[in-house]
């Protein structure tokens, strides 16, 4: 949205959240150290660091994976979603400390390259119980690195939104690798039941939340649409909340219909920034505000207010009594359409 790039898009909210992230991470590490030392005072400091940061990283990864679906189910989670990027980068740092320390502890003291050593110090690739699980951690760390290092908006534009999205969908590959890393590692190390517990519980949580949202989304897709002289019936006005929207799929396109100031406007649901669902956002200062990172569009013409230049397609609406109808033909992006008076 900007005309140049900022180091980090910070505002006061984000600063507060970032402080919370750092504070939470510190608290977890201290708590982990205290609990471990109380129950097992012989744990070496290296092992402690490796376990504390490994488990911290996996907990953070779970939070990252559930925010998306949670924010769709309940808008109270949206503020965390805005901050997911910083959470992702912090998670990478925790994973990097864990992996780096393990590499230093187990692979840096010999005369072979430590990375090569991760791959060849245990050659039991055919075994399940003795599998070189650290290799899986290494591969996951590579993926997390690519994601963390490309989280800036610069890459969104320069890699194209599609490539960027694909890269970041690899988080699920990383998640699978990490699960295998911990479980296969558990056969060989005395992995704590705590960590295994988190993983099992986490996996159930992540998959069920994704399933529930997928089901809900499917529900939007099949929203009833009755035709009347080329206009499609969408809903009753009362179904849309003030300053909010309802999302409908009309001829395979997602459209958000907003209600504000006694008016109705319809725009394409997909944000130009990263494809965020505009219809899940609110009208703030007269602008439709994307729930993901706050890009704004004027409801009547789908244009970002100057000096910004983003545009989305607009649609024509009409009212028959209390029933809203839409003309399924999209106007060119950024076309002014008279809002429908209620």
């Amino acid at each position: 949205m900007g005309l140049n790039y900022q180091l980090v898009l910070w505002n006061n909210h984000k600063k507060t959240y970032d402080k919370l992230i750092v504070l939470g991470m510190l608290l977890y590490i201290i708590l982990f150290a205290v609990v471990t030392l109380v129950f097992n005072s012989e744990t070496s400091i290296e092992t402690l660091v490796i376990r504390a940061f490994g488990s911290l990283a996996i907990i953070m990864l779970h939070i990252i994976l559930v925010i998306g679906p949670l924010a769709r189910l309940n808008s109270a989670f949206l503020p965390i979603l805005y901050n997911r990027r910083h959470l992702g980068v912090s998670m990478f740092i925790a994973a990097f400390i864990h992996g780096g320390f393990s590499m230093f502890q187990f692979h840096a003291l010999g005369d072979v390259n430590p990375i090569y050593s991760i791959f060849i110090s245990n050659m039991d690739y055919g075994s399940l119980t003795d599998f070189p699980f650290q290799v899986l951690g290494f591969l996951a760390l590579l993926i997390l690195f690519v994601m963390a290092s490309t989280s800036h908006d610069f890459f969104l534009g320069n890699l194209s939104a599609k490539t960027w999205k694909r890269l970041h969908m690899m988080v699920y590959a990383a998640y699978a690798l990490i699960i295998a890393h911990v479980f296969l590692g558990a056969f060989q190390q005395e992995t704590s039941p705590f960590t295994i517990g988190i993983l099992v519980f986490g996996f159930i949580l992540v998959s069920s939340l994704h399933l529930i949202t997928a089901f809900k989304e499917g529900h939007i897709d099949t929203a009833k649409t009755e035709e009347k002289e080329g206009w499609l019936k969408v809903c009753d006005i009362s179904e849309i909340e003030e300053d909010r929207a309802k999302i409908f799929t009309v001829e395979k396109e997602r459209i958000a219909i907003f209600k504000y100031d006694g008016k109705l406007s319809a725009i394409h649901n997909v944000c130009k920034h990263q494809g965020g669902p505009l219809g899940e956002g609110k009208i703030i200062d007269g602008c439709i505000t994307c729930p993901w990172h706050g890009y704004q569009y004027l409801p009547a013409n789908g244009q970002s207010p100057p000096p910004f230049t983003e545009k989305v397609a607009t649609y024509e609406l009409k009212l028959d009594g209390k029933t809203v109808y839409i003309n399924p033909k999209a106007f060119e992006e950024g076309t002014e359409v008279n809002p429908c008076k209620i």
Binding site: F155, G157, L167
Partner: protein, 69 residues
């Protein structure tokens, strides 16, 4: 198995090396990749460096496009 590992890590090494070289080029001539970088503070380039090094195959094309344009 060892040969597979050697090939994989060899490719990874070469990829990383080219990435670092490309990243250094970016530190010096960032606007050639993205004109918006001309008006962007210099320290942003350092923040972007790791990502540029990691995704160089996707970015290197911009160099040739901007020359023909």
């Amino acid at each position: 198995m060892e040969i597979v590992i050697k090939i994989f890590l060899g490719i990874l090494g070469v990829y990383t090396l080219i990435g670092i070289l490309f990243g250094v080029f970016f530190l010096i001539k960032a606007p050639k990749i993205d004109p918006l970088m001309a008006d962007t503070k210099k320290k942003v380039r350092f923040l972007l460096f790791p990502g540029v090094a990691a995704t160089w195959p996707f970015l290197i094309g911009k160099l040739f496009n901007s020359k023909t344009a």
